[in-house]
Amino acid sequence: MSARVRIAFLHGLLRPEEKLLLEACARRGVDVQPVHVDELVLDLGAAAPPAVFDGCDLVLDRGLSASKSAVLLACLETWGLLCVNSSHVVAVCSDKVLTNRVLAAAGIPMPRALLAFEPAAARGALEAFGYPVVLKPPHGSWGRLLAKVNDADAAEALLEHKSVLGSHQHAIVYAQEYVEKGGYDVRVFVIGDQVLCAIVRHSPHWITNTARGAKTARYEVTPELSSLCGAAARALGGGLLAMDVFVDAEGRLLLNEVNHSMEFRNSIAPTGVDIPGRMVDYLIERAAARAAARGAAAPPAVATQAAAATSAARRTTAAPSSATRGADAGHAT
């Protein structure tokens, strides 16, 4: 390992989160090798990954496309590169069906959900399930293409549309019970298997999405919430994760979704936590652990204490985009 931690920073478009992470790396003396995912070509028969990864202790995935990330990370891992998050975590968390199964198998409480493959089978299942119900594409984020279905007529139309108009993936029906959650959900930031902080997102809309006007505030992490999210992280494989949690009418915590490429720009101020700084600290720890396991010299501590985690959004004539490409745009049912 090199004297300083060197991170391959996989990216596409740079959102405010990526810039905040780059700034946190700079403050901590971490070398960054930027790698634009769309500019990469892998020789799958090669004995080593592309030269751009030479000397890198760790690969941080901040690409926008979950499908590209999952494939790319899986390849890089076969060459022995340490990836955060791992290809397994990305593959599971970017698929709501797999997320549900992995977490259910670990005993994590979640909203009830069904999987079906044909409209006729799905209609029958939804009748038994009871309305309202939420249809979600197995893949996707930022609240896109979620549908709250209130009755059988709407279900029949939506299922036909998904079957006829959508790609083959939309023919797979993933349905989740509609949870009355009192107009809010909780986004929990998890590093490794430890809860870092949490925010509450209030919205009059059933999708609690900051891009739709949800208001955020700091949320006090309870032992129960910490236990739930820690267990979920361990079941998934750990890493840098953002979890969306409902509190149902009976006060039970239900884990709705887990995001593998967390967005946090709107969560730093309300929590007062240097989220990107703590993420980079985790990367340094992972790189050191990897080096120790290999018997190499661990990189020196490079903790330059971050003064302030957040840089104010620069808005002159041209302003960094904040709303349409994420913005902690977690969604809820």
């Binding site: 780059l22 593998h260 490409r325 977690g330």
Partner: protein, 63 residues
């Protein structure tokens, strides 16, 4: 991406042609919004400074 931030700080919006002043520490592949037409733009290069309409959000994009 480049570790070198932009030096030139102004260009024009490729959509509406309005003047576009880019912050000095902007990086390649950063997304900006034109103040005039609200188009989302990608900084495709910082030296020289060039911008293009940002790609549409794709189905598998997100967290």
């Amino acid at each position: 991406m480049t570790s070198q931030p932009a030096t030139a700080t102004s260009t024009s919006c490729p959509v509406c042609d309005a003047p576009l002043h880019v912050p000095a520490n902007t990086l390649a592949h950063e997304v900006l919004v034109c103040a005039d037409c609200q188009s989302e733009l990608e900084v495709t290069s910082v030296r020289p400074l060039t911008v293009a309409l940002a790609p549409e959000v794709e189905e598998d994009w997100g967290e």
